[in-house]
């Protein structure tokens, strides 16, 4: 039987946040700077947020769907001032999990006994995790009974090589071991990063499957899109965390693979997933992205300088379901995919020309014909104190400039264009998670409700960071009301 060409649709998306102030001390920038200046440790600890403050933080509520992105335009900054008792752990698009429970979750997804948790703490978090709607008896049994704290402390330096797992107040409640004495790809910090990816992606996909009423065994293929490196000394980036997550989510009929494209990974992966469905190879695919633990506290110096709380204290995950046309879900226009070819050059104008103008012109669309553009959506309150600017606004200005260059808007209409077609940034600075896909939940909701016709999701990737090329990268697609 010949495969039939079909229209892929995005059936759902869910996000997952974990508030992990204690893990900020394992972020790449904090680790490096604290090795040079030990006084920073106390300064950071005194600026960590409570779970209640992270929960109430408006950008997090936008991320989880309780607020619209445009709401932030009307809220005076700093946004972290806003306190409310009304914020809910569960938003329409997912939950924000407290730190203690997330440490238990790390233990649950660890199948190699790398993580040891204190026995008293294990008992406490078992009680906290038992009522969780997405955790099973098998998950809770994975917690075990824990280890005596004295035994855990003996694993830590100077006597041992394990990394401590601490709460925000500095209490040691566990540790993570290396998996090999001579393998730099299996050190405790690398394994912690990878397990955190596995845990956050697992919870995002479990949330998606449960709330979109999709049976796990209906998933044919899972594509990972994160920036972690899962492997060992001989295959440092071997990958396929996707299949490990599929296993955790009970996707017994699924296989998977990982797409590696820096921040652009999720959009690349969505296009590939759409193509797999569109060509009749699979019926239901899931694109997942775990967190970036290395980016916890990345801008901490700017936050301390301005007496801000450490705003990069959450880990984020995403899961997206792409399937066959059901007549309701928004459609992926695979005939309007934008890409950044090697020969295009890395100037911003060239990148946006390829990602935006080329696919639109192919169908006679103008840049203003796209109602909303979802680009790099990093929270500016995180980046501006560190001198990194307002990343979404920078990108929207380039987009508006391109429209003016094409004589599709007046140069004096740039501000109006940005207000109409853009949005404030709200995503945690979790690398690939912040690239376009944070708006997917809002877009799906508005398209199903009839208040949005189309959105272009465009993401960029910083390939030059890996020192293999000076190039950037990018990918885009149009999502349209069904």
């Amino acid at each position: 039987m010949k495969l039939q060409a079909r229209q892929p649709v995005v059936k759902g998306v869910r996000y997952f946040l974990a508030h992990t102030p204690g893990l900020v001390f394992h972020g790449s920038k904090p680790v490096r700077e604290m090795q040079k200046d030990r006084t920073l440790r106390d300064a950071v600890r005194s600026h960590l947020r409570s779970y209640e403050d992270a929960l109430a933080y408006p950008p997090h509520q936008v991320f989880l769907g309780a607020l619209e992105p445009e709401t932030l335009s009307d809220l005076a900054r700093p946004w972290f001032r806003y306190k409310t008792d009304l914020a809910q752990r569960w938003g329409p698009f997912g939950e924000i999990m407290p730190e203690e429970e997330f440490l238990g979750l790390l233990k649950i997804v660890d199948h190699f006994r790398l993580i040891w948790i204190d026995e008293d703490f294990t008992s406490k978090i078992r009680n906290r995790l038992e009522p969780h709607p997405l955790l099973t008896d098998a998950d809770l049994s994975q917690l075990g009974t824990g280890e005596p704290l004295s035994k855990i402390r003996a694993q830590l330096p100077p006597d041992g090589t394990a990394l401590p797992l601490c709460l925000a107040d500095g209490r040691v409640v566990g540790c993570i071991h290396r998996a090999h004495e001579e393998d730099s790809s299996l050190t405790p910090d690398v394994l912690l990063e990878n397990l955190a990816c596995k845990a956050t992606a697992t919870m995002a996909l479990r949330t998606l499957l449960a709330q979109e009423l999709t049976k796990a065994d209906q998933i044919d293929y899972v594509i990972g899109s994160g920036e972690e490196a899962v492997g060992d000394r001989y295959q440092r980036g071997g990958g396929n965390l996707a299949k490990a997550v599929a296993e955790m989510c009970g996707c017994r009929n699924a296989s998977g693979s990982d797409v590696k494209a820096f921040c652009c990974g999720p959009v690349h992966a969505m296009v590939m997933a759409g193509a797999l469905v569109g060509n009749g190879i699979f019926d239901n695919t899931a694109v997942i992205g775990g967190c970036s633990l290395a980016k916890l506290g990345m801008k901490f110096q700017g936050h301390l300088k301005h007496d801000y709380p450490i705003l990069e204290d959450v880990l984020a995950g995403v899961a997206i379901l792409i399937g066959t046309d059901d007549g309701q879900s928004p459609v992926m226009r695979l005939d309007m995919v934008g890409r950044h070819p090697v020969g295009a050059g890395s100037a911003q104008q060239a990148i946006f020309e390829q990602l935006v103008a080329v696919p639109l012109q192919r169908h006679g669309w103008r840049i203003p014909d796209v109602e909303k553009y979802a680009t790099e959506l990093h929270n500016p309150e995180v980046t501006e104190p560190a001198g990194s600017g307002n990343v979404p606004l920078l990108n929207y200005r380039i987009l508006a400039g391109l429209a003016a260059l094409h004589n599709e808007i007046s140069p004096t209409a740039v501000t109006e264009f940005i207000a109409q077609h853009g949005m404030p940034g709200f995503s945690p600075t979790q690398g690939h998670i912040a690239s376009a896909v944070p708006y997917l939940g809002h877009a799906l909701r508005r398209m199903r409700g009839g208040s949005l016709r189309n959105t272009m999701f465009l993401a960029k990737g910083s390939l030059f960071l890996g020192r293999m090329t000076q190039m950037s990268d990018g990918m885009s697609f149009i999502l349209e009301q069904n």
Binding site: S346, Q348, A386, Q470, S472
Partner: protein
């Protein structure tokens, strides 16, 4: 600014002007680019 014969370090930014673009401008002005890098701050 006259860059003719000068040595230039081109430090760019992904969401601003990337390093290769700065380097191309500098070379067109007669400079010798000794280092070309692009940073990504997110």
């Amino acid at each position: 600014m006259n860059l003719q014969g000068k040595r230039v370090i081109a430090l760019g930014e992904r969401d601003g002007v990337p390093g290769p673009a700065i380097a191309a401008c500098a070379r067109s002005a007669g400079a010798s680019v000794v280092l070309e890098m692009t940073h990504c701050f997110v």
